[in-house]
Symmetry: C2
Amino acid sequence: MQAIAISNTDATLWAPLELTLYGPTEGNPYREVMLSAIFSNGDVSLDVPGFYDGNGSYRIRFLPTLEGRWTYRTQSNVGQMHDLSGEFDVGAARAADRGPVRVADQFHFRYADGSRYLNIGTTAYAWSVQGDAMEEKTLATLKDAPFTKIRMCVFPKHYRYNQNEPDRYPFVMVKQGTSTWPATVEDAGWEFDFDRPNPAYFQHLEMRIRQLGEIGVEADLILLHPYDRWGFSRMSPEQDDRYLRYIVSRLAGLPNVWWSMANEYDFMENKSLDDWNRMIDVVADTDPFDHLLSIHNAFPLFDWHHPKITHVSIQRPETEHSLLWRERYGKPVSVDECCYEGDIAEQWGNISGRDMVHKFWLGVVNGGHVTHGETYYNDEEVLWWAKGGELTGDSVPRIAFLRKVMEGASDAALEPMLDNRNHRIMKFGADNVTGPEMSKPATGEEHWSKVRFPYPIASDPHQYYVAYLGHRQPREVVVPTPPDEHYSAAVVDTWEMTETPVADKVTRGDLLFIEPKPSLALVLRRLPS
Amino acid sequence: MQAIAISNTDATLWAPLELTLYGPTEGNPYREVMLSAIFSNGDVSLDVPGFYDGNGSYRIRFLPTLEGRWTYRTQSNVGQMHDLSGEFDVGAARAADRGPVRVADQFHFRYADGSRYLNIGTTAYAWSVQGDAMEEKTLATLKDAPFTKIRMCVFPKHYRYNQNEPDRYPFVMVKQGTSTWPATVEDAGWEFDFDRPNPAYFQHLEMRIRQLGEIGVEADLILLHPYDRWGFSRMSPEQDDRYLRYIVSRLAGLPNVWWSMANEYDFMENKSLDDWNRMIDVVADTDPFDHLLSIHNAFPLFDWHHPKITHVSIQRPETEHSLLWRERYGKPVSVDECCYEGDIAEQWGNISGRDMVHKFWLGVVNGGHVTHGETYYNDEEVLWWAKGGELTGDSVPRIAFLRKVMEGASDAALEPMLDNRNHRIMKFGADNVTGPEMSKPATGEEHWSKVRFPYPIASDPHQYYVAYLGHRQPREVVVPTPPDEHYSAAVVDTWEMTETPVADKVTRGDLLFIEPKPSLALVLRRLPS
């Protein structure tokens, strides 16, 4: 058996490459064996951690971040795996490989290769532990859906509508417990050896994440969560840290992984803010490839200013506040739970498809990113939000339509127009109107009818403007584009998914008369001058 | 000519009665003549002010508040009108006469005779100065509408969509101005003698108020407002006070009058809070019959704690906050502008009919009272909210339907159930659930699925419960009635205006399964035990 094997002889940029080493099986490799490798290319040097994958196999996963000649040299406290070295050439990226998603333009995202990434999430927390038939159905659904991200848990989930046992467990089982409903985690009676991960569990997870990558979906991987009857939420700090180093070492080589430290961190009663800050360090410091990293709240907001947190992953119904949260944290805002379309009793899971679509539009025109979820009850208790399967709600095609509108801009991310915001709407008297955003009068004398454009707008400035009128149904709106530029104007019905031209050529201050009804948006496209 | 004439020889309770006196026409009777009368019946004694109605006629309007023998004696600084006396008998009220509306049960209203009054308002600020044809059309519309109150101005209105001149003016014109749009009130060039009211103007107003009374509509009379090109908003403090004493003296004898000190008081830049507090005193102290009195804001809230203010007349879109405002001020809350159904450019005038209906339901189940308005544009610029005319929106029949649901209780006003409010909804774990409002489990183990009833409910306790599910579309809701009582349950579609029975006999904690869709309410009626 050779001491080291390399997976790809034709390595390419942003395609994972794996070193396999053979080492000891005795003792507890998880606790006792240290392994990593330094990968170097010119001035770039990355310290890539390895992990034990069972049966004496140790792996180091590398994600090439540059083309050209890379060299590597291993480090280990096991002699046979120490100081092994080699080199390989990395060629140009294949078309599908765009690298990890990074923060771009402060409030948005792009793939590492600079290409456009629109963060349009969905949620299926436990989809990867539902057995192959359901999991393949989920992948098929995602392939046809508009989503570019899925929020999913590493660990299985215990919750209402989530009482099935997974096919396998992440740690070696010591004692089988019950899947009926326990009053406490302890009552369930499960015991696991948290010092012995089950490689098969993580290999399966990994396969599903790779399959997501193949269909262009990022895995927003929830590392810890409170919905638990097995005890995975109550490991010791040392066990948490070891687990985190392990999962990051295993998965950081996959380009489409994001780290979500927790779902509803504040419901994990046995962890303090100090614990979270410590664990954020563990994840960020273990990851050589700087994947996106955040943490998701239930009630109290986390302080997303934390320098190792890349973006805000907030739970709040008010997606329109994205603008405020962006300003507060100076980072992209992903509203990763804003209630789910569905019909269950729980308030977070029974908004209408209309409301979900409304929340998406509000988030987007306010400079945020919104995540979908669906919780329609069925007798099988296969609710998309937890188990995946099929999507039956009304919002998904409308979210796909919104995605098209967002893509209508050039490659640029749509940015909210701040100078049209937070204005007191003119109620009475010309004296209350200031600033340049005025309309021509529709009726009456000019100075009286000047009204600002009071709707949120996102734009690719000077090119493409999207205004969302929401629940309002004005018969007239004023063109809010910059002066001395000409635009075509169309009304978009965000629910009916139609676009209707309303003017071939308009300029700032022109009035557009539209058929009054709710859920409209206005799209303005720059005309050649 | 006799010195004094009495209008009703067959006086009845709550029917206005008028003394007419003849006095001087020379000088300025408005400023110079004092006239009032003390009306007494047993221990009750009321000091009723008189007013000059032109052509040498002085009137004192009395509203009998008790049956039986009343005596009166006049007081005046004019000898021929001083110390005149008489008596009359007041019989039982005629069926239609229920007296002024009063505050009842702290947060609600009743007629003075104790009968039910539901405050369901609409708004047509300037309807009484639109000429007879339009005004009669407005009355015909109101006759068939669900509204029991109309907000209306004493003075004509100057605003967008309000540029027509009235047929007559409240004061004697000195100089005609322009009806085109002035930059300032002064620019319009109008001049009036604010010391000489025009009796014909007020006689007309009075007739319209009486006609409202005949169709069961209260006149929430706005005494001052800022929408002005004639100068009526900029009289001196002395002129304001004189005008207020005059209008109250004229109209307090009509049972269906409420005093609204101002619309959007904060837009009247030449009046201070001290002015408003002084003028509140003038109105309250002049009125012998204690009509309802409030003041309406635009942006900053007024301090409705003021002891002479009977109820909160607030402008805010969030009708669901009625519960909080009730608690803050300890008085009934009438949300007298929460945006209008319509399609005009102005944000306060372009919500959908659905939104208007939603705001009504939210207000009512949260213990408030809501006022409607409609601002659909038409080429004639006859918008209901200002000029009256016809109602064309979608909300009015649904408001009528809501009124029926409110009337479904016994005579009692529906009160919000506070113990079901302001709870954090169970997100995770049985430990978060406290208190008695739990459901039986739909699925899973019992301790897990306990969920509070998270919708606002108003009730006639132990008899009739109305819960509004709003934008939520749960498939299951728990019966929130008190223990050991049985109810029938029906689902109400607040938009389709249907009621569908869902259970013949349920008790607290039972689950009701309903067809999930938005805009539903739940009605529970007590069964005989």
